[in-house]
Point group: C2
Chain length 131, copies 2
């Protein structure tokens, strides 16, 4: 099961991260996700991290990379489901998630993506950028 499933939700893709990430798995996820964005003509990517107790610099970099890759493929990325403790640790450690928008849960993330897509990608006003 060394592959993270990517689910299609309308014009968006959903990835739920449940297992410990390591280099190879992160690479596979990037490959799979970019391929799926193109194949499904996805306009947005939702990454659920509600199962993660820790977001370290490795995970942070992976999320940033995914968001950057999705962006050049004309898809927005929203990270959803962050646990309160993760948010606290991120700020305390001074880790930023550059270029990543976040939303409380999948529903809100989809709403955010829908607004962005309908607004031609300009409607970033509702997104919270972790800085």
């Amino acid at each position: 099961m060394e592959r993270i499933p990517i689910l299609k939700l309308g014009q968006f893709l959903l990835v739920t991260i449940q297992v410990d990430m390591h280099d190879q798995l992160a690479m596979t996820l990037q490959d799979d996700l970019t391929a799926r964005i193109v194949k499904d003509r996805a306009r947005g990517v939702l990454i659920d991290i509600s199962a993660l107790d820790i977001v370290d610099s490795f995970i942070g970099r992976m999320l940033s990379n995914i968001a950057a890759m999705a962006r050049v493929l004309d898809a927005e990325t929203v990270v959803v489901g962050m646990q309160p403790s993760v948010a606290i640790t991120l700020v305390e450690l001074g880790l930023s998630l550059p270029g990543i928008r976040t939303a409380l849960n999948v529903d809100r993330g989809m709403e955010l993506l829908r607004q962005s897509v309908e607004g031609g990608g300009a409607g970033a006003d509702d997104g919270r950028e972790v800085a």
Copy 2:
């Protein structure tokens, strides 16, 4: 990370099974899922098994149990994303997934659930029952 995240998608819940299931994890999932159905007043449950290469009798029983529990809480269960090889093996082994409806992917599963909910639970005509 010994907990499978449950995502809310509108009035439905989505569970993606990515890790090897064992007794304790299955119990936790049942507890969490039934609690969430009540808390979120969910009308349906989508279980994505696209990451599973094997569905044995243990997984089959777990899915049936979840579907039965959801049913008494007035929520329908649809299993989505089954791999072709899993379907072949299920039939070859004579394993049935009693009471479980299946759909090709999350999008179709949601459509199926929507029809069921709008049809008052009677619209089972579009569902494929694995028998």
